[in-house]
Symmetry: C2
Subunit: 129 residues, 2 copies
């Protein structure tokens, strides 16, 4: 049984963030000790770590939370889990594609930019069309 500070250290989730997750209902509410402080069991800490791993992979919080609920349910709904994974992968791929075309555009934008020229090619490109 750990305090919120220990839970934070062991899960890698900031204290304020842990309280935020609780407030928003993304993780089950922990117990409280006599003095009103939150008390975290090892499995509660594991839950936080799970959420963190999901977030690090780009899953939105409500999906991370849903995956947690599925994990803790009677029978795991593997299809739903798979859907979330595929959706996140698709989103990640499309974000990459978007950023790559952005990168190309920015490279083109910056390429003609030389200090000291009377006009500013980058600004001109931004205004053109």
């Amino acid at each position: 049984m750990a305090t919120i500070g220990e839970a934070s250290l062991r899960s890698g989730v900031e204290i304020e963030t842990i309280r935020y997750y609780e407030r928003k209902g993304f993780v089950p509410k922990p117990g409280r000790s006599g003095n009103g402080r939150r008390v975290y069991s090892p499995s509660a800490i594991a839950n936080l770590r799970f959420i963190k791993r999901c977030r690090d992979l780009g899953f939105p919080l409500h999906v991370a939370s849903r995956l947690l609920v599925i994990s803790m349910g009677e029978q795991v709904k593997c299809g739903e889990v798979q859907n979330f994974g595929q959706a996140q992968l698709a989103e990640t791929r499309s974000k990459i594609a978007e950023l790559e075309s952005l990168r190309t555009a920015l490279e083109e934008l910056v390429s003609n930019c030389e200090e000291g020229s009377t006009n500013c090619p980058m600004l001109e490109k931004l205004w053109s069309q």
Copy 2:
């Protein structure tokens, strides 16, 4: 001289967003007609389009706004413009790199996921370690 609706159509910026930009000081305040409605000159509309092009390229609003101010100033500060462009390019590249490692991780996560298996490999990976 155009209404906010026409300015929106011609610039591609939503009406609510135009008002938001004005409220936050990212674009100069437009004039008002006798009845109190906003009136947009062609150059004011061009400004909105400029901001939109910057936003589409990923520049944050305060940078887009600064580029606009620079454009309208006496002498253009090409060095500063170049810095913004390079910074945005660097940021875009690092975001791409980040997303690519994310994509790899997600592909690995999803790869073993098969409907109908008794356990759920994806969830297991999320819990492991």
